[in-house]
Symmetry: C2
Subunit: 117 residues, 2 copies
């Protein structure tokens, strides 16, 4: 084995309440896609997820927060769609930053340790 090989650290985080998962990487990805596409069904399709599954995840997120993270729009050329509320946008930013900062923290901690002893 090559002793100089580098050890890396990977991580996943989830924010939850007693009622279960509120936000995780998959849910944040879905929110980002909804923001990008302006439509829950198009976001679901992009993520190769059923509309029912996406709807269930959005409903779960909305129930874990005092304000909905995803709201419907009406009218327009496409006859309405879904967009992120200000809270939805804020939570995407917070989760993404927390996740990135955690990855940096972990890699720094790992590099302080001498795994090879």
């Amino acid at each position: 084995m090559d002793l100089s090989q580098k050890y890396n650290i990977k991580s996943r985080i989830w924010i939850s309440t007693e009622q279960g998962t509120f936000l995780g990487e998959g849910r944040i990805e879905l929110l980002k896609k909804i923001d990008e596409m302006g439509s829950m069904s198009r976001a679901a399709k992009e993520m190769k997820m059923s509309y029912k599954k996406a709807w269930g995840l959005v409903t779960s997120m909305n129930l874990h927060f005092p304000e909905p993270l995803v709201v419907g729009t009406t009218g327009g050329v496409n006859g309405g769609g879904s967009i992120l509320s200000d809270s939805g946008k804020r939570l995407v930013e917070i989760f993404t930053r927390l996740n990135e900062e955690n990855k940096i923290y972990l890699q720094t901690e790992l590099e302080k340790l001498n795994l090879l002893g």
Copy 2:
């Protein structure tokens, strides 16, 4: 929704090399069980895992490190078994501490944020 409900953060970490996963929570659990039972087959049974699966995980861990993490013993009333090497014990301690410290770090960071805005 109850605004006073508490948000918690959960996490999982994995240490890997370019060759794939080296250590994760399941692998560490297996090492701890081997240390406790003195036997790979009994550890696998305790974890409701096939011996083949446990053997594969131990082989993978041993290949990711200059010294084996699990070594065989010979003789004794049970005709030999498996124990952790000093490196194996050290890595279980390092991973466990890193994981615990990370959970504290994340919960502290989450509590600094005001998710509710």
